[in-house]
């Protein structure tokens, strides 16, 4: 192990496991699981993108929840670990949000015939994405670590309070024009497909943990 490296024994083991797991996941998702052919709204091979899209979406929401909690904990406890956790969680969360938007957009292109739809969930997720880019930009702009931690934590909590406002306004905005929002993910899916989806979720969350766990430890 390199003396200046930030890797720990645990992170190396976790990394190796994730590398293998990702390969297995790709086989399950792309080859082993059957295409969706049930019913009129069958998605065919398109269903496979859901095995990535839904897990990364869940990981990105988790990341942002953790960032908010860590920010609140920082303001309460004033220990550096919580600030590190908030920062790393936001960084990983931004990547996952970008992936969510990208995979969603690809899926939308095939399913709806358009790369972008002003769907409420899509719109609020993209706004959230920009807010987190701003959060990271603020972190880069402040030099003093204590100031940075405090300002970033306050900013994060304000954006968190803003989430329901964005959600409702975007919801009303679209529902006034469109009779129904487009969301037709079929919850009744069979064994291997469900397995691929759950596998993807666990994998995405583990990837999140591996990337966001603050190094050097510990929190608190």
């Amino acid at each position: 192990m390199h003396p200046d490296g930030t890797a720990s024994h645990g992170s190396r083991v976790l990394g190796s496991i994730l590398l293998v797991a990702t390969a297995v996941f790709l086989v399950v998702a792309l080859v082993a699981s059957p295409p969706d052919d049930a019913g009129r709204d069958a998605m065919g091979d398109m269903v496979r993108i859901m095995y990535v899209h839904v897990p990364v979406a869940i990981a990105c929401y988790t990341a942002f929840l953790v960032t908010a909690l860590a920010s609140a904990m920082y303001l309460w406890k004033r220990t550096e670990g919580w600030d590190c956790l908030a920062a790393s969680s936001a960084e990983v969360g931004v990547v996952f949000t970008a992936l969510t938007l990208a995979t969603g957009s690809i899926w939308g292109h095939i399913a709806w015939g358009t790369w972008w739809e002003w769907d409420p969930r899509l719109t609020s997720t993209s706004l959230m994405f920009v807010m987190y880019v701003g959060y990271l930009a603020l972190r880069r702009a402040v030099i003093d670590p204590t100031s940075r931690a405090k300002q970033a934590a306050i900013l994060r909590l304000i954006s968190f309070v803003n989430v329901p406002v964005v959600h409702y306004s975007v919801d009303w905005w679209r529902s006034l024009h469109q009779t129904a929002t487009i969301s037709r993910f079929d919850p009744t899916i069979d064994g291997l497909k469900l397995f691929a989806l759950l596998f993807g979720m666990v994998l995405a969350l583990l990837l999140y943990v591996a990337d966001a766990a603050p190094l050097p430890p510990p929190v608190g």
Binding site: A137, V142, Q151, L155, I158, V165, V166, S169, W172
Partner: protein, 387 residues
């Protein structure tokens, strides 16, 4: 320190401290008298002001000169006048005679040796001209005068403290901002023309086709307001971040929540003027005429309060940073996106005379305004501390 328990609540000590370093903490566009008046009122110390200005030779022609036009030595004398008029009990001086000519040094020495209530301390590394013995010995022997903000009982719950707002501080800060505008005319000569320019640019972008412009008028109106608000926020905090003014504000004794409300009110008043001009512009140039005046006015006021409140929060957050001008838009615009949606929809409803949905949006705007006013009241103090 100074009979204040700094661990329980350091705020009561602020008005007891005077700070004069390289920065003078003066507003460039205000006159000397206006500066001294603002800072003494901020510390609730009115009556000493004329004497302080006379002591430093600022009671004549110089009193009505904007600080930006003073020489460096005169500027320092003005800062000293603020200090003398505030009558702090702990004076923190760093090179107080920097850029002073000889007479100025005599002036300042004269002012420092004026009859002063006992219990004061002075801290400077050139004490030879400040009659050190008298100041220091007096500090040790005499009972101190009660701190001016002793009504703040130590150990009080900060939440309960926040619930008691100081409207006088808000009025003072908002009044100062309006006076700054009166002296500098930045809003009139820059903000208003910019807003109208945006309207013209929209017409270029969408072709001067009346029907397109008329249909899009509410959205374009609010976009123009949004861009103008960015400039208004930047201006509102640019005047606070130069020359040590932020430090001066922190120890001024002004309630931070009051400063927030004052800044937000100043921005909101600027915006209301811009909105009136834009409303006329949209009506004349785009041919759009609102039909529900009550809804238009109510939603415009609610949206303006929300924009100004969120603007004051993000303005002070970005104010201390080197990259503030580029960072503010990326932080603030996504936050006020719901306001843009709500205000546009409310105006749409008013223009199309379907005001039922419009009032719903107006409610959302009001909720946003209240939410951000509350956030600002609580969050402004820590943000001001870090800026």
């Amino acid at each position: 320190m100074l009979e204040v328990d700094l661990v329980a609540d350091p705020r009561p000590v602020h008005p007891l401290v005077g700070l004069l370093g390289h920065a003078t903490g003066l507003y460039d566009d205000l006159t000397v008298a206006e500066n001294v008046r603002f800072w003494t009122r901020a510390g609730a110390r009115g009556p000493a002001m004329p004497a302080a200005m006379a002591r430093l030779g600022l009671d004549g022609r110089l009193a009505s000169v904007p600080v930006a036009r003073l020489s460096a030595g005169q500027r320092r004398r003005a800062a000293l006048a603020v200090m003398v008029a505030r009558r702090p009990r702990l004076w923190l001086l760093d090179e107080p005679h920097a850029s002073s000519t000889k007479p100025a040094e005599t002036w300042s020495t004269g002012s420092w040796s004026m009859p002063s209530p006992p219990g004061r301390r002075c801290c400077s590394h050139r004490t030879s001209s400040i009659e050190p013995r008298r100041w220091r010995t007096a500090a040790c022997t005499s009972p101190a005068e009660p701190p001016p903000q002793s009504r703040e009982a130590p150990g009080r719950c900060p939440l309960a403290d926040r619930a008691r707002l100081d409207p006088a501080a808000a009025r003072l800060v908002a009044g100062k901002d309006l006076r700054l505008e009166w002296r500098s005319r930045v809003a009139v000569s820059q903000l208003l023309p910019f807003a109208l320019l945006v309207l013209v640019l929209f017409a270029f972008a969408l072709d001067p086709d009346r029907s397109v412009l008329r249909d899009a008028a509410p959205g374009l109106f609010w976009l123009a307001v949004l861009f103008s608000t960015l400039l208004a926020i930047q201006r509102a905090f640019a005047v606070e971040t130069v020359d040590g003014i932020v430090d001066a504000l922190r120890i001024s004794g002004l309630d931070p929540a009051g400063i927030f409300l004052g800044k937000a009110a100043g921005i909101a008043l600027h915006l209301l003027v811009v909105e009136v001009a834009l409303g006329v512009g949209v009506t004349v140039m785009y041919g759009a005429s609102p039909s529900g005046p009550l809804l238009v006015v109510a939603s415009a006021v609610a949206a303006t309060v929300g924009l100004a409140a969120a603007g004051a929060i993000y303005g002070v957050l970005a104010a201390g940073l080197r990259v503030r001008d580029t960072l503010l838009p990326i932080l603030w615009l996504p936050v006020v996106a719901p306001l843009l949606i709500g205000a546009t929809q409310a105006f749409d409803a008013a223009y199309e005379q379907t005001s039922g949905a419009g009032w719903r949006w107006c409610g959302l705007l009001a909720a946003f305004a209240l939410l951000y006013a509350a956030i600002g009241i609580f969050a402004f103090e820590p943000l001001l501390e870090e800026s």
